[in-house]
């Protein structure tokens, strides 16, 4: 198992390196940061001077190696836009995104699994079919439109929830949390739903189909044949087996929640890393973009690793070596 973790980490590092290379090579095409950094009365000499200062005149591999060296030391450079170390900015922004992702992930997983189990057990029931059909609306409209509609309904028309932002936050060390204030919690509701809806639908449908698959396995029939209660059969026996394949997909979904947050954060002006990234694109803030992509990759790789380890925890077939009576 240790070998496994080591190998995984090694592979992950490779993945990160490639991600970095790919990402970095692409930035050259996103736009030119110079125009955003100089006012309208700039001269060509100013442009040339700034280019040299930023190292943009150097060949791409040199820039990449420089970036990697810095990144290895946790130094992602200085934001072109804000003139501050990117790492500081990321640390400042990450809590907002992580809290949003956590809440919507929680929402997606709990409701998704709950509804998935429900629709699987009541496979042909009216309610189950309704839920299945209605849930598809969540994946049939673009996220940004859902967000805007929610704002329109709950913030503008009904006035129940704030239309944007994170509300009041409380700082605990470097971490800023919106969990501890009423306005912070209220502000979380709409973005979390917007962000989680899509993942919830996917998880729900996955749980349903896996559960249906499991429910027709022999060991479920055998459990029924032993007269065990439906609830025990459905939850103790079926659900746990359902979760094994669900975990992978859910892990991947959680990763994409953080990426999808870009859109939600833009619509709700949520002060997280996604919004930061969109702004960075707008202003061609290359160091921020690079660091963001690395951050996303690290999270993704981390989640993948956790998912793999979860497998070990949940599935004894992977845990034990060739011991026992074979």
């Amino acid at each position: 198992m240790l070998t496994f973790v080591v190998r995984r980490v090694f592979q992950s590092a490779l993945v990160l390196l490639i991600v970095g290379l790919v990402a970095f090579s692409m930035f050259r095409f996103v736009g030119d940061p110079i125009d955003n950094m100089l006012g309208q009365e700039r001269t060509d000499a100013d442009i040339a001077r700034l280019r040299t200062e930023l190292g943009l005149d150097q060949p791409f591999p040199v820039q990449y190696v420089k970036f990697l060296k810095g990144a290895a030391e946790g130094n992602f450079g200085v934001s072109y836009r804000q003139g501050r170390p990117v790492s500081t900015i990321l640390v400042e922004r990450a809590p907002a995104t992580l809290e949003l992702a956590a809440v919507s992930g929680f929402f997606a997983i709990t409701i998704g699994i709950g509804l998935g189990v429900f629709t699987a057990i009541r496979r042909d029931g009216f309610m189950a079919n309704m839920i299945m059909s209605v849930s598809l609306i969540g994946v049939s409209l673009p996220t940004f439109l859902i967000g805007i509609l929610l704002i329109y309904l709950f913030a503008v028309e009904l006035g129940w929830l704030p239309s944007f932002g994170r509300g009041d936050v409380v700082h605990i060390g470097w971490w800023s949390t919106g969990f501890l204030t009423a306005s912070g919690l209220k502000a979380l509701i709409l973005p979390a739903i917007t962000l989680g809806l899509y993942q919830m639908t996917l998880i729900m449908r996955l749980v349903r189909s896996e559960m249906l698959e499991v429910l027709r396995q022999d060991y479920i029939r055998f459990a029924r044949a032993r007269g065990l209660k439906e609830r025990s059969v459905n939850f103790r026996h079926a659900l746990k087996n359902t979760l094994v394949p669900v975990i992978t997909v859910t892990g991947l979904q959680l990763g994409s929640i953080i990426a999808f947050a870009i859109i939600t954060e833009t619509v709700f002006q949520w002060p997280g890393v996604g919004l930061l990234f969109i702004n960075a694109i707008q202003f061609v803030d290359i160091p921020v973009m690079a660091a963001y992509l690395m951050l996303i990759s690290v999270m993704f790789v981390g989640i993948n690793l956790i998912v793999d380890l979860l497998y070990f925890a949940i599935d004894p077939r992977l845990r034990v070596d060739q011991k026992g009576a074979k």
């Binding site: 309208q40 836009r81 804000q82 900015i89 002006q269 202003f283």
Partner: protein
């Protein structure tokens, strides 16, 4: 602290004496720095106008009025200007303001690494006469110099040096990037770059307080629909801008008021006049028709500006006939009419120029720079198509747009220009002069428009002190550009702000939001 304030706010809502007036506003762009000399851009300078002050400032009508200088006068025969400084002014940190700070601010703002350097290109020297008198000497007589330094803000020498911010540092940032110490009516109490900036009144401010704000918070909101929703739901008290299409309905809704004005920015079409061939469209590689003034004139007749104003701008904008708006100094009243919308004439002109069947070309356009820029370009595309000029429209985000223009990748393009000096000379210098790197002329003249008479007029305009003679030259320049259709000015961009019903404020044409004119009722 925030908690305490919100408790206060609750107390006031409960009917106690109105002590705390919180004001929240939203704009599209966060000021990227708090350093007044690092970046010469409207969001930064507009915001910092509330925190820092210059020797002079602009009033509600854009006129120059005394600020940190109480008076100024020309020295000799146009050798420079003498400024008498206001006494008893203190910075936010309590230190006092004097001539040394002016000299320091000059050195800081005119340094090579400062983005504001170009303002001081006419300046030859700055001399401290005494603690409250400063002489600014110019290389040539410069009648509009005081007008050109309204955004030159005073920084405390002691503070800057103590915090190792004697020079702005745009690339790596320094103390002044995040902190501010001005003399203005408000001080920055909290700053989270890109997220929110909180201001509180400067109790030791020298001026007469017109506002009743106890705390103000600025939040950048990019998505226009979100901003409108925030205004409607009362989450913010003011937004800038209101999407033009929403203005009318918001004004009619009763919950909010819409404040409309005309900005200094003129939106125009530029056409490649240097390139020998067309670069885009089906006629790519063929001779460039835009070199012919008749074709350019045909464009100006083919664009139905009234229709654009009526629909896309919803009656909020004014047509433009020249590169500056009527509110600017040096506006040419003699050339106030723009070419009429006349498709027949446009076709005739095209035929005359040898293009009876029109031609195909490429139109580049930003899609997030000016109000409804993309929609305007689309409308222009269809209007030109109706007279046979088939434009292939390529709209892109502004970060990709400028590099394209710099690389001359266009046949026609959309440009907005707001003269930083609020004077008609400014666009001539940047847009109409033959490009010249050494003299730093025509740096935004992507089109490559070139006219010897205009080039000759510019230095004369710059140094002419007599207002009438100067205006005559400006009129001549405007006339030439209109005759040759150097650009096709279309309209002056509108200013549309939205506020809650309980807010009163003053809107200035430069789109600067001046907090000290705001009151919450």
């Amino acid at each position: 602290m925030k908690r305490a304030l919100s408790i206060l706010a609750v107390a006031s809502a409960l009917g106690g004496p109105v002590l705390a007036e919180e004001f929240k506003w939203a704009g599209t762009t966060d000021p990227q720095t708090m350093d007044p000399h690092a970046v010469n851009s409207a969001p930064v300078l507009g915001f910092l106008n509330n925190v820092y002050e210059g020797l002079v400032r602009r009033g509600k009508d854009m006129s120059i009025e005394p600020a940190l200088a109480t008076s100024w006068e020309p020295i000799g025969n146009g050798e420079g200007w003498r400024f008498i400084l206001r006494e008893g002014v203190t910075f936010h940190d309590g230190s006092s303001f004097d001539a040394e700070d002016v000299l320091f601010s000059y050195q800081r703002a005119s340094n090579e690494v400062s983005d504001t350097r170009s303002w001081f290109s006419p300046v030859s020297d700055v001399k401290v006469v005494d603690a409250y008198t400063v002489d600014i000497l110019t290389k040539a007589p410069n009648p509009i110099f005081p007008d050109s330094i309204a955004n030159w803000m005073m920084v405390d020498k002691g503070w800057a040096e103590a915090n190792e911010a004697a020079l702005p540092d745009k690339e790596n940032g320094n103390y002044a990037t995040l902190n501010a110490n001005g003399t203005g009516a408000f001080m920055v109490s909290e700053r989270e770059p890109g997220l929110r900036t909180e201001l509180v009144p400067h109790t030791g401010w020298w001026g007469e307080v017109e506002h009743n704000i106890t705390r103000a918070e600025f939040t950048p909101v990019q998505n226009p629909a979100t901003a409108v929703a925030a205004l409607l739901s009362g989450d913010v008290d003011m937004i800038n801008p209101v999407p033009i299409q929403d203005a009318e309905r918001l004004a009619g809704s009763g919950d909010v008021q819409v404040i409309r004005g005309i900005e200094a920015r003129v939106i125009m079409l530029g056409m490649a006049q240097e390139s020998d061939v067309l670069k885009y469209g089906d006629d790519e590689g063929k001779p460039n028709p835009f070199k012919d003034a008749r074709v350019r004139a045909a464009v100006s007749h083919a664009v139905n500006v009234p229709a654009i104003l009526k629909t896309i701008m919803r009656g909020n904008a004014e047509p433009a006939s020249q590169l500056v708006s009527p509110a600017m100094r040096g506006y040419s009243n003699a050339n106030a009419d723009r070419p009429a919308f006349d498709q027949a004439k446009a076709k005739a002109l095209l035929a005359e120029a040898g293009y009876p069947d029109g031609f195909s070309f490429g139109l580049k356009c930003p899609n997030n720079r000016y109000l409804n820029d993309e929609a305007v370009c689309q409308a222009v595309t269809s209007m030109l198509a109706q007279v046979g000029m088939m434009a292939q429209l390529d709209a892109m985000p502004v970060q990709n747009y400028w590099p394209e223009l710099r690389a001359d990748n266009y046949d026609m393009y959309l440009l907005g220009w707001s003269p930083g000096t609020f004077d008609a000379e400014h666009p001539i210098r940047f847009l109409a002069s033959t490009p010249n790197k050494e003299k730093k002329l025509g740096s935004w003249n992507f089109a490559g428009y070139s006219n010897a008479r205009i080039d000759a007029l510019l230095p004369m305009i710059q140094s002419e002190i007599d207002a009438t003679k100067r205006q005559a030259m400006l009129d001549e320049a405007a006339q030439i550009m209109q005759d040759e259709t150097a650009y096709v000015p279309m309209y002056v961009q509108p200013l549309v702000w939205g506020t809650g019903q309980n807010i009163s404020l003053t809107q200035r044409p430069d789109n600067f939001f001046i907090l000290r004119w705001v009151s919450v009722n």
